[in-house]
Every structure is written in C-alpha cells, then in structure tokens.
Amino acid sequence: MWDTLIIAPFTNILLFIYQLVGNFGVAIILFTFLIRLLTHPLTQQQMKGSKAMQDLQTDKRYIEMQKKYKNDKDKLAQEQMKLYQELGINPLASCLPTLIQFPIIIGLYQAVIRSLSTTPIELLNLTRLIYPSFLKVSQLIPINPQFLWMDLGQPERLHVPFLSFGIPVLAIVVTVTSYLQSKMMTPPQSGGDDSQAQAAAITNSMTLYMPFLMGYLALTFSSGLALYFVASNVIGIIQYAALGSLNWKNLLPKGTSTRKPEKK
C-alpha cells in the first residue's frame, strides 16, 4: 500500500527527472521544488492558521479569559476551545503542513535510497517499482549516484588532504539552513499569559533543537536525504519571502522582534 501510493510514484517521478537531466543530485533538487510547488496551498493554509492564532492573542475576549480563568486551567481550555469554534479557527491548521511533510520526507528518502540500489535485491526491488510504460529500465540502470564530491547513497564527508577525517559539510549546511528557516519563519510572539508563554517555549525549543536533529539525520543517513533537506530549506525560505512572511528581525540578536508583553 505504502509502496504503491507513495514510494512507486515518487521513485518514478524522481527517475523521470533524472532521465531528463542526467544528474541524480539535480534531480533531487528539482523534485524537491516540485513537491514544494504541489504543497504550496498547504503552506499558505499554514500561514493563514498562524496569522489567525496570532490575531487571536490580541482579541479582547481572549485576553479577558486569560485573566478570568488564570487559576482554572481546565475552564480556561474549555473557554479557549469555545472561542476557537466561534471564530472558526483550527488550532492545528498551522501544524498540518508540517505533518504532511513527514510522509513526503520519508517517501522521498526511500525513493532516493531505492533508486541508488547497490545490491542485487535492492536493484530487483527497484525494477519492480518502475512503471515499464513510463520509464525504460535498460536506459536507467545503473543510476549514477555522484553529485559534486558526494555519493548520494552514502553519508556525506568531504575529505581534504591535510585532515585525517572527513568534514560533514552537508550536515552543517542542513543545520544552518534549518536554523535560519525556523528563525525566519517564526512569527513575532506576544508573550504574557501562561498559554502564550508555553506556545513561545514550544516554538523556541523547536527552533533550537530541530536544526540539530535534522543535522544529525543528515550526518548519519544518505547524503541524498541531506540534499533534500538543504534544497527544501532554501526553497522554503524563498517561498516565504515571496509570500512576504519572512521575519528577518528574528535573526538579530536578543530576539529584538519579539514583542514585549502588554502591561496589565
């Protein structure tokens, strides 16, 4: 089921692009662009969801209920939910695109890995994924995994003559671009009550830890995945910039863009 619905179409599209451009690294970048294009409506939805949640925090009723039920968390949650329903806000709308990215990331990774088959069983499985009416196996196999200095089927390390170990360039680039992306895409936060502080804490944690986690994945998994991460981050930043939603001020020290809590 997973193979039929996700892996097979992903693999065929990826290999089709590879057949057109003749370079697997370029194919991954173009495929990432295509995926970003297809998920653009979801990205817009995410931005709307974030904006709605942000606007809510300045809503008079919302501020009042924070004060009123300060010591009754359950009641506060109930009242918040009522307000969400009344205003037609889906609090998970901003998370949905992120969740949808998961099967895409996993699907793309497996498409990359399966395409770069290096053993007989892997190749056998790959040939079975290819739609024979769409692609010709004899022309595709073997697939060249080289892109710049990388073997896209292996974890990446750049070996330089004066060092005894390889430098994980791509893992570093993934960490940096992930950090930049999450920083620049984080909307200004209006702190104040517990709930907002908690939301801000989640965001800050994500901004801090996720780039390192992504970097760790790039370090240990095939460089094809790391290339996807880099391409996805860069395209994501461009996409948000095009939609006018980048928060450049977040890159400045001490979070100068963060609004101070309103005085009570």
Binding site: L124, M206, M210
Partner: protein
C-alpha cells in the same frame, strides 16, 4: 474526546521538549523503515558452489562447508559472526583453497578442508563489495567487485593486474582459456587478455548485465541483460550473432541442454531457444519471477521460481514437478550427481536438497 478537546489535552500534557522528541522519533522511524539505515545494507542472496563431496554456501555473516550427501555442517567461517563481515559471493576453489570476497572489500582464502584462513587481502575500495564469485583459471584468481574493477591475483593473494570498467561488476566472468569475458553494469561485455588484463574487445549490450554469460563449446557467449533481452555473441570477435526479446528482464545465466538454450525472466516465463538462431522453440509460465539460473538434470531443467518453489520442466516444455520451498528463490540451483541444491533467501532453510523427482532429501539452516 472531540478534536478541540484532543488538542487541548495535547497542549497541556506535552512539554515543549516532548514535541521535539516525538517529531524526531517519528521521522527517524520512518527513515529507518524498509532498510533505510544503510551503513551496511547487506541485501543479497546466498552464493553457493559444489566441489567434490562438499557444498560451500556464503550467506550473510558466514561461509558454511556442508557434506553434500546429508547436509551436515563440516565447518563455518568465521566461527562466530564478526562486525562488517558479510558474504554473498559464491566461493571458488583453487589449490585446495576456498576463495571468497565479502561485502567489505576483502577477499579471503580459506583451507577448503578446515575453513582455516590462509590469507586475506583488501581487494577493493570504497563501496567495492564482492557480489559475484571469482573466476579461477590456470592457477589465477579473477575477482570482480562493485568498485568497477576486475582484479587478478595469484594463489598467494598477490595482485597481478587490474582492469577498470565504467560500472559495478556483479557477475562472475567466464573464460575459454584464451580470454576472460566480463559483463558489467555499465552495459558492456569486455573480452580481456588473462595475461595482463588488456582489452581485446568490448560490446555494448544495451543494458546492464547482472549475470554471468554462458560460453558454449562453439565459442558463443549467451548473456541476458536487465533490458528484456538475451544476446548471442561470437566470443572471438565480439559480434552479435542474434538477439532475443524476452517479455521481461533476464537476471539469470542461460542453461544449454538437449540442444536448447533455457532461461527464465522476471515475468515468470521460461523460454527454450535454438542456440544457433535464437528462434523460440517453446515457452511456459512458471507462476512467478525467475531470477536465478536453472539446473539441467537427467529429465529436464529445474528452475528457481521466486515465490513458487522449484519448477522442473522437461525438454519439451512440459512441467515435470513443482516443489514448494518456504522462502524466496533468487540464487541459481546447483546440481550434483543425484541432488538439486537450492539456496533459499528469507526462508526456513538456507539450503534445501531435492532429488531429481523433487523430493526433499535434506535441508540446512545455520545455528544462530
């Protein structure tokens, strides 16, 4: 709980770090699923060979020497599994030594009687795993590896020469004593001088060759490729004598028996061709993909059929018998004086021995 209540519960229950951890675990699980991890993804099928009264099987973490008549283990190498030592190439015998390459670039020479290690060399670089067995010819070892190289060693493991192709080498070369014929994943078949590895000719097969060619007594090479084709090539000059379009990819070495060329493809079709003209004599449906090479015996040819067991066909294309085997059949079937030896992948046995009527005589599964 409705949607809003669920959200509220999640929001109040999970701390910030829990969110990050949960995302990471989900992503990691997804990426490592289905063999994604891949530091050493040893995914191939058993390599086996018969010599005298012994059967040698290389699979995963070891090589086993078995008594051919009852399947009892004689020895195992290494005695216990070792990190990054995986064997899938079929072992070859030279000078009382078993020569076999592993998935971590090394070639080992073992005492065939005891399994004691005589020597080992690092025979490849990078991801140069040894997928195919080595050709033994005139006291020389010709080892093809996935790092695109054919390396020639003497029986003491000293490198004599190397020949580099443009693709991984997954198939054992063959020789007529004058030349070595080497199929490559780069779509070419190479003819080399065994003395120094110099190129005599090369031929574009139109697709990657993953199996050894068959060389007949008339000097014709028969080779399949993953682009749905079998070719007959004149070994002397590398000219194509004929081409045959199969329904699907041909992963196996053809078998020549009863004046017919017999092989199966991934569509499960078994073909019998006239080896002189490439004309189809008959076909039959085996019921599932035929990946491995068939074995000719007195009454016909036994084919390993991926999920359908062993299917024996007589020389007129009529099914003689069919013996189900628990597991997948990818490796070629070997034949001894009175047994068909079937290597099994992902099954309850590693080797199943059948008599020529398809009745199981013994089976072998290594101790864990």
């Amino acid at each position: 709980m409705n949607f809003y209540q669920t959200y509220s519960w999640l929001k109040t229950t999970l701390r910030p770090r829990s969110w990050v951890l949960m995302l990471f675990v989900l992503l990691s699980l997804g990426l490592t699923a289905c063999g994604g991890g891949r530091a050493v993804t040893a995914s191939s099928w058993p390599g086996a060979s018969v010599n005298g009264d012994r059967l040698y099987v290389a699979f995963d973490s070891g090589i086993w020497a078995l008594n051919l008549q009852d399947g009892k283990q004689v020895w195992r190498y290494p005695a216990e599994s070792e990190k990054n030592k995986f064997f899938y190439a079929s072992p070859s015998i030279v000078d009382g030594q078993l020569v076999v390459g592993d998935f971590s670039n090394s070639i080992y020479a073992l005492e065939s009687a005891t399994g004691a290690e005589n020597w080992s060399v690092v025979g490849a670089s990078g991801k140069g795993r040894f997928i195919a067995g080595a050709l033994i010819q005139d006291e020389m070892i010709y080892a093809p590896s996935a790092d695109y190289k054919l390396s020639a060693y003497d029986t003491a493991g000293k490198l004599q020469w190397e020949f580099v192709t443009e693709g991984a080498l997954w198939a054992k070369p063959v020789s007529d004593g004058e030349r070595i014929y080497l199929p490559s994943m780069d779509h070419n078949l190479y003819a080399l001088d065994p003395a120094d590895g110099s190129l005599v000719w090369k031929l574009d097969l139109g697709g990657a060759a993953v199996a050894s060619p068959l060389l007949d007594d008339n000097g014709t090479l028969f080779v399949g490729q993953v682009g749905d084709k079998v070719l007959a090539i004149t070994a002397k000059n590398g000219k194509i004598a004929w081409e045959f379009a199969s329904k699907s990819e041909v992963w196996a070495t053809p078998v020549l028996s009863d004046g017919k060329l017999l092989f199966g493809d991934l569509s499960g079709t078994i073909y019998a061709l006239d080896p002189k003209t490439g004309k189809e004599i008959w076909t039959m449906q085996a019921g599932d993909a035929v990946v491995g090479t068939g074995a000719a015996f007195t009454d016909g040819v036994a084919f390993p059929v991926e999920d359908a067991g062993v299917v024996a066909v007589d020389f007129a294309g009529k099914e003689l018998w069919r013996t189900p085997v628990n597991g997948k059949l990818y490796s070629g079937i070997l034949v001894s004086e009175n047994l068909l030896l079937v290597p099994v992948t992902k099954g309850e046995t590693l080797i199943t021995a059948l008599d020529f009527n398809g009745k199981e005589q013994w089976s072998f599964l290594p101790e864990k």
